[in-house]
């Protein structure tokens, strides 16, 4: 009796003690002085660019400005998934976790479902750069109504679209093609009529690579990657199995026969298609977007054909009356916050402060030393960056002088696609012009918002890439004549049976749940 009484007392004391402890560390106590409190913030991500040192000046600057002890790890992109998996599984979860958003979707959704991330819905309205994210982008990172990640910016309308050698068109006195028939005439003329005027039969119309890269289409209606058409059951289907794609493949079969497509395209990787074919002055048509084009390529082409000039091919009018290219997902890469932060709103806010700061958009005229915030972000003029022809250029990223290299998110969230003025990033006149023309074309035409970007299909994440590639490879065989066109249904059936139907079911179910309507913008 006595013993059990003692036990109860001990138990009660423990409860009281732990409750009072809890009270001490409760949010209220933290919140009152959270502004002056120094937080340790850990994060992990990867970079396509050079990786800055752990102790760069940029880190120091972030520590000072945000009153934090900022620890940022970068993994190597190709092994990032393994690194992240190991960290997460060993319980060493950083406060902020960076994700690639296209190739590695399965881990993100798996962990989100397991409750590893902090729902961010309540914070969105407090930050201008989060508020300006459109609903279709939030949809992509929402699981059961909870937003689990903050996407980084990528212009929604600026996917790669077909561009053509304008100088060749002019030389042969041809007009910009406006439908597939005219396109075919141009492609064949590029092949047979010596568009570069060197008297040699060394050119052709359209450059293609393995897996049918770059999935040529002249509007969402024909886009193999757009979920635009419906099947007999009323389900949205990927364009790659649509009747329209069948027509495209038949057309390409004909072009291939005429020599208007490179003979060995099934063995040409995209890099070779770029450098060894198009920028070597052999082909007349390729795809380009206004973002991050490599100027060295254009310079190499100009050494071969000094008058080389590129122009976008505007979208064709489709039989259903639509006219416009497909929009992208509107983001690329993202940050999730650890669920362990749920009891520490002060720290969450500090993290979001840092994220928000890196996302602030400055128009070109404000990207200079006069803009205090920008100057800080880029690590002060003459130190972290230099002004070259009015364009700020970061110096030596491996030195890590600018906070920019370390920010959780350093992609400015632009208020509109046009606001970016990507053409200003080019020194090469021909590219400047091409980017300007592309931006103009995208502004003047509408874009189809692709529903598949807003949903998550587990089957797609697991084997979508693989079976779609295989499908493209089989379609390539029809183009080269190794398979008859009559095999089309067989090929599509193999895709559907190999997991394609599950993808279609999963996508359509979530499209219904999230109430996503096909939309032109």
């Amino acid at each position: 009796m006595k013993a059990s009484f003692k036990k109860i007392v001990r138990f009660m004391t423990a409860v009281v003690l732990s409750v009072s402890l809890f009270a001490c560390s409760s949010p209220e106590a933290g919140e009152t002085d959270s502004k002056d409190r120094k937080y340790t913030i850990t994060s992990i991500d990867f970079l396509y660019s050079d990786i800055p040192p752990k102790d760069g000046k940029g880190i120091e600057r972030i520590n000072k400005r945000f009153n934090v002890d900022y620890k940022r790890d970068y993994g190597i992109y190709t092994e990032y998934k393994e690194k992240l998996t190991t960290r997460m599984a060993s319980g060493e979860i950083p406060d902020v976790i960076g994700f690639e958003s296209q190739m590695d979707r399965s881990n993100f959704f798996k962990w989100a479902n397991q409750g590893a991330f902090l729902p961010l819905n309540d914070y969105i309205d407090e930050y201008p750069t989060l508020k300006s994210v459109p609903p279709e982008v939030w949809n992509a990172v929402t699981v059961n109504g909870k937003i689990y990640a903050i996407p980084k910016y990528f212009p929604e309308h600026y996917l790669n679209t077909p561009v053509i050698r304008k100088d060749w068109l002019d030389h042969l006195d041809l007009k910009m093609p406006t439908n597939y028939k005219e396109l075919e005439e141009v492609a064949i003329a590029f092949t047979k009529d010596d568009p570069d005027g060197n008297g040699k039969d060394d050119t052709y119309g359209i450059v293609v690579g393995e897996h049918l890269w770059p999935h040529y289409n002249f509007g969402a209606y024909w886009d193999p990657n757009a979920w635009y058409h419906k099947n007999g059951k009323g389900q949205l289907i990927p364009g790659v199995i649509s009747e329209q794609q069948k027509e495209t493949i038949q057309r390409m079969r004909n072009w291939y026969k005429e020599g208007a497509i490179n003979k060995d395209f099934v063995l040409t990787n995209p890099n070779e298609a770029n450098t060894k074919e198009f920028y070597a002055g052999k082909a007349g048509i390729i795809v380009r977007g206004p973002v991050e084009m490599r100027e060295a390529n254009m310079e190499a082409l100009q050494k071969i054909h000094p008058e080389a000039e590129l122009a976008p091919i505007p979208p064709f009018k489709a039989p259903d009356g639509s006219q416009g290219y497909t929009a992208g997902s509107g983001y690329y890469m993202m940050n999730a916050l650890s669920a362990e932060l749920k009891d520490d709103p002060g720290k969450v806010k500090r993290i979001l402060d840092i994220i928000d700061f890196g996302r602030r958009f400055y128009p070109w005229e404000n990207r200079n030393p006069e803009n205090e915030d920008f100057d800080w972000l880029y690590g002060r003029e003459g130190e972290g960056y230099e002004m070259k022809n009015g364009t700020p250029t970061l110096t030596d990223p491996v030195k890590g002088r600018a906070p920019y290299h370390y920010m959780l998110d350093n992609k400015m969230w632009a208020p509109s696609n046009e606001a970016n003025h990507f053409w200003k990033t080019y020194q090469n006149k021909a590219y400047q012009n091409l980017a300007l023309e592309l931006e103009k074309m995208h502004k003047e035409t509408r874009h189809y918002s692709n529903p598949v970007h807003q949903v998550y299909s587990e089957t797609d994440a697991r084997k979508g890439l693989e079976i779609t590639r295989k499908l493209f490879d089989e379609q390539a065989k029809i183009i080269t004549g190794d398979r008859p066109v009559s095999d089309w249904n067989k090929i599509v059936k193999a895709y559907l049976d190999g997991g394609g139907q599950s993808i279609i079911d999963e996508v359509n179910q979530e499209v219904k749940e999230k109430n996503i309507g096909p939309e032109w913008k």
């Binding site: 040192p53 092994e79 393994e82 190991t86 890269w213 999935h215 770029n274 060894k276 973002v291 390529n297």
Partner: protein, 291 residues
């Protein structure tokens, strides 16, 4: 034997041609890398198959050698290779010696060694051990977890077992203890074995990549292979790899930079090979014949 029939000669000819072809197919990539690394981007774009630079350009090498990261990681790798190999040999040889003597419980210990040869803990448990021992972000994380390769240990033990027992007895009569026997008799007799295993270990350290990715977060401590990978990624053209096929132009690479980095990373270990090849052959044969 002196006289060989026509068929024999034809067979020889076929062998020679086949071997030459194989040798060529192995050398060709190096040759190609060499040529590209010294070429201008324009040359790379223009020619279908580049075999010899039309003009010699050293920009790629200047770029790579001027980068602090590359040079620093080179020394990191040299450090890990030298220290790591020393640790490997020290621990492998001492343990092999112990296990080659009739000490109590050696069967159990040997069994535990063989067990790790067949069954290994996965990536995550190993990571947790490294983490809990406080090795994360230190170069020791690249050395200690792989201090002993069980296969090498067993082969070395076999080598020690082949040393005549009489030598031991003679040494003991002369009043030597185990340490003296080991250092004055066993080790000097095992020089070829030690050389071969040093090479095996050194090459493994030199090429070590994956564990560095997992255990080292500080870019200043990354070994050469990791930095090389990042250089290749920064200069990576392949859209599929970027997963951005639908969004960006894949900036075709300063391919020459990739190639220069690859060559610089491979060369040192490449130079070591031919001179130590004889030990390799010996190493492979070690313990294979028992008297």
């Amino acid at each position: 034997m002196k006289y060989r029939g026509v068929t024999g000669r034809i067979a020889d000819g076929i062998n020679a041609v086949a071997l030459l072809l194989i040798a060529f197919s192995m050398l060709f990539p190096f040759f190609y890398i060499f040529a590209v690394s010294f070429s201008s981007l324009e040359d790379v774009i223009r020619s279908d198959l580049l075999l010899w630079p039309t003009e010699w350009v050293t920009d790629a090498y200047e770029y790579v050698l001027n980068s602090d990261q590359f040079v620093r990681s080179f020394f990191v790798t040299v450090y890990v290779t030298v220290v790591g190999t020393f640790v490997n040999i020290l621990f492998t040889a001492t343990m092999a010696y112990g296990l080659s003597r009739p000490v109590p419980g050696r069967r159990i210990i040997l069994f535990m060694v063989v067990f790790t040869l067949l069954f290994q803990a996965g990536m995550i448990p190993t990571y947790m051990v490294v983490k809990e021992t406080g090795l994360i972000d230190t170069l020791w994380s690249l050395i200690l977890p792989v201090a002993i390769n069980p296969f090498n240990l067993i082969v070395m033990r076999q080598f020690f077992l082949n040393i005549p027992e009489e030598l031991h007895e003679a040494a003991i009569i002369d009043g030597a203890n185990h340490l003296q026997i080991f250092s004055r008799i066993i080790l000097p007799l095992s020089k070829p074995a030690l050389a071969a295993f040093s090479l095996f270990y050194a090459v493994t350290h030199w090429n070590n990549y994956f564990s560095a990715i997992l255990y080292i977060n500080d870019p200043a401590k990354w070994p050469l292979q990791v930095v090389l990978r990042q250089i290749v990624i920064v200069n990576e053209p392949d859209a599929a790899l970027r997963g951005a096929q639908r969004m960006m132009e894949n900036p075709p690479p300063p391919e020459t930079v990739q190639m220069a980095a690859i060559l610089l990373t491979t060369l040192p270990i490449l130079f070591v090979y031919p001179f130590l090849q004889k030990y390799f052959v010996k190493g492979v044969m070690l313990g294979s014949v028992k008297e």
